[in-house]
């Protein structure tokens, strides 16, 4: 499955990217808010890759996205 977004080779870098976005957008607005992060990262076990899906709001923080292919299909 092809996605647009940002890829990382380890969880630490992905967490840092999420934190950058939180700081930029002032999330959480208060400690008790339901909304604790602006974006989230995912991990594809099949591809051993961490990634954040693209949203226009991420452009000023994370820059231009790339396209990447990950295998997220699950057998049901």
């Amino acid at each position: 499955m092809v996605f647009r977004g940002y890829t990382y080779t380890n969880a630490t870098d992905a967490q840092a990217a999420v934190q950058q976005c939180d700081i930029y957008y002032g999330i959480p607005k208060s400690p008790d808010d339901v909304t604790q992060h602006w974006t989230a990262y995912e991990y594809s076990q099949n591809d051993n890759i961490y990634f954040i899906l693209f949203d226009e709001s991420l452009l000023p923080v994370l820059g231009e996205p790339i396209e990447f292919d990950v295998n997220l299909e699950e057998e049901i």
């Binding site: 999330i27 909304t35 992060h37 989230a40 997220l72 699950e74």
Partner: protein
């Protein structure tokens, strides 16, 4: 969505102003008449005795939030429109009206569904591109004897790939699923998967932008699917339910994994931990009359 598509699907829409129809959501409300739901989510009030809110909305422009309730048993649209004031609102909490506290939430801003209007009713918009979803961390909405009934409304934008609107699982075992769309055949499949090895499917044809009311009743030895009030077949529910109260997962609405993200709208989902065959038609009539299809 282009207005011509809405006109085709919803003839009552005249291009900008919906034609009002008489409200059918007058007391006694749906859960007053048919109590016992283990989880109930809607943009309308479902229980006269429910004193909580419908939704918590986050205003995207400044991340402020507001709990929004009901006026005359309808979603308080004035409070919502005043709050977002022409901007965008996303749903951070979809409150459970059953009294069981199984509120659906998402702590990630971009994964929260937007709130939109369809057929003159507010609905949550789940977008596969952002992987929007809501999750209840409170478990055991489905009875541990494996019997349950689900009622709800969904409108699919995109029928390519797996699209799961609702599901609950125990670890890797999916207990109930709606709108698992396979391939490009517009062939929607509802799962009733109640054990560790057997997946039971009932198929029905769905087209993009079509609104459907689905009722899935999982009985002791079979599962039945009803679409828009008509039977859509049944399947033997083979296997003995193996899950237990101790390790059943929460409710997922919108997706479980990114590869299964739903792409569409839903204004209402109601789950009973029981076989509601006796009341099915009455519940469906209430839902269909309210949503006007």
């Amino acid at each position: 969505m282009p207005s011509k598509i809405f006109r085709k699907i919803f003839p009552g829409w005249n291009g900008g102003t919906y034609i009002d129809r008489a409200s059918v959501n007058v007391p006694p409300l749906l859960l007053d008449l048919y109590p016992g739901a283990s989880a109930a989510y809607s943009t309308r009030k479902l229980d006269q005795n429910y004193t909580g809110y419908a939704l918590q909305v986050r205003r995207v422009s400044d991340n402020a939030t507001l709990d929004i309730g009901f006026v005359n048993n309808e979603f308080d649209s004035i409070a919502f429109q005043t709050f977002i004031s022409g901007t965008t609102g996303r749903v951070s909490i979809w409150y459970d009206q059953s009294g069981n506290g199984r509120n659906l939430t998402n702590g990630t801003a971009l994964e929260q569904p937007k709130l939109t209007i369809v057929n003159n009713k507010y609905a949550l918009a789940f977008e596969s591109s952002n992987g929007t979803r809501l999750i209840s961390g409170v478990t055991n909405a489905i009875a541990t004897n494996g019997i349950y009934s689900t009622f709800g409304v969904g409108l699919i934008f995109n029928t390519t790939g797996n699209k799961i609107l609702f599901h609950q699982d125990q670890g890797s075992v999916r207990i109930g699923q709606w709108f698992k769309v396979t391939g490009a055949s517009n062939n929607s499949v509802v799962f009733s998967n109640n054990d560790t090895t057997n997946a039971n499917d009932i198929s029905f044809n769905s087209s993009p932008y079509s609104m459907n009311m689905l009722s899935l009743i999982r009985k002791t030895s079979s599962a039945e699917l009803w679409v828009n009030g008509f039977t859509n077949g049944s399947t033997p529910a083979s296997g003995t339910p193996s899950y237990s109260a101790g390790n059943m997962g929460g409710i997922y609405v919108g997706r479980r994994t990114l590869g299964e993200a739903y792409d569409g709208l839903s204004p209402e989902l109601i789950l009973y931990p029981a076989d509601m065959t006796t009341d099915r038609l009455a519940i469906e009539t209430n839902i269909r009359n309210y949503y006007g299809f």
